[in-house]
Symmetry: C2
Subunit: 265 residues, 2 copies
């Protein structure tokens, strides 16, 4: 696959209002489509989160815990329906910006085992990339060979796709500027880390985990755990704040941008 | 797989207004969801056509002819977007009728070769069926290993899925009552054929093809060609008029219904 492939993640916190049920942030979706279009990337896979769409329905039916009783089955349908509604808005914006976007529904090509990807059908996606199409995936409720159901996070997908297609870079677009030395809301001592190696990150793990800012570092730690296998394959990973204009654009272009670069080291 | 699996096709002529661009027949979609729900089938795969949604966009970009130039790539995106819009309406209706429906996007799990299914990822669908979910697929623009793109008809999908999952029956819900001895619009001599063997059908092929009613027999002949491999596997195939109330319901229930049964013989 192309050495220039970029896997871009747009967090649910960017494209939805996480505080309000099933509420898209249409302005952000529109801006993201515009930035991606302007950056004219040659080979791209886009993965987006569920934000206020998927998570709440999935939680209502306890899908993450796996299959327990038949009443959950309609919850699987409803979770996917919710994610589809969000995805359609993303697809609309991308296509309207002349991006050759094509959705790839994770639940139709991935099976997990205890929540981890067990099999993923790559043939159609490989052909899409060769054809100049931009596959768009998202966090999804999927079938699990041990638990019945599982929630497949966009982050796990990002790492798997980046490794399988030999991506050159991963860009994680979230709602924070990057990794901090401490909770940025806790005081003036918090500094954005511009560049970090995997080893640095592993050594700092406990310290980061100990922070009170679960939104920032807790969420980030989870993301980091998912991305480690990709970073270990020498895929440079960049965390940027996608809620701020032009950060994603600059990240795609490879221009200097506020954020944290994580490398194998 | 369950011996009672039914693969049900709902033609684009049933769920859309084929004469008007991207116009769903919401009443028909609602009625179909109701009939399927009432019939309480234990194991079902649903495949729907594109009608006035997919076909016209696909035609505009000549997708069926395969990849010729880069300007078609956005047409692939747009064709899929159009099919998604129709599919969402079908999914809404099914889920609102408490059917555990889950869409399976053909372009994310099928690759064709010169328009014929070359590979199809079945693992997620198998687990969906085991879980009591109803996979819903549709005719779709897909990636083709020879031509670049192809249009995968719902009919080809029906036969492939029925064979792969060992379905007991195929129900083809279209806008005609079944197969006729002659063009039903041509005169009073046309009779509905209630039961026909594959051999009967093959022998009558030229006669049927010669009919002037391309809507009826031309369309039907194409369908029949796609379904022959499934019928040869002893999967009973029933053609019913889904535009008429309760035909699909009765067909699912296995009750007596106006239509044509095709058997291996």
């Amino acid at each position: 696959m192309s050495v220039k492939l970029i896997v871009l993640k747009l967090g649910g916190s960017v494209i939805t209002d996480k505080k309000k049920l099933s509420t898209p942030n249409l302005e952000a979706i529109e801006r993201m489509a515009d930035e991606i279009s302007q950056a004219k990337v040659s080979s791209l896979i886009l993965v987006h989160g569920g934000g206020s769409f998927g998570h709440q329905v999935a939680k209502q039916y306890n899908l993450a815990e796996g299959y327990r009783d038949p009443s959950q089955v309609i919850g699987f349908s409803e979770t996917h329906r919710a994610m589809t509604k969000l995805n359609i808005l993303v697809m609309e914006a991308l296509i309207n910006h002349n991006i050759n976007a094509i959705v790839v529904q994770p639940s139709s090509c991935v099976v997990t085992k205890a929540g981890r990807i067990q099999s993923i059908e790559l043939k159609p996606m490989k052909k899409m990339l060769n054809m100049g199409l931009v596959p768009v995936l998202y966090g999804d409720a999927v079938l699990d060979s041990e638990k019945g159901f599982a929630i497949l996070s966009g982050d796990q997908l990002v790492a798997s796709l980046a490794i399988n297609f030999g991506a050159s870079r991963i860009i994680m677009g979230g709602d924070v500027d990057g990794l901090y030395t401490a909770d940025p809301k806790s005081g003036c001592s918090a500094k954005l880390v511009q560049r970090v190696t995997l080893e640095d990150l592993k050594n700092q793990k406990h310290e980061i985990k100990g922070s009170k800012a679960t939104d920032v570092t807790g969420g980030m730690l989870g993301k980091m755990r998912e991305l480690i296998p990709a970073i270990e394959q020498n895929i440079q990973t960049l965390i940027v704040n996608a809620t701020k204009p032009l950060r994603v654009y600059k990240a795609i272009k490879g221009e200097e941008v506020i954020g944290t670069i994580i490398e194998k080291g």
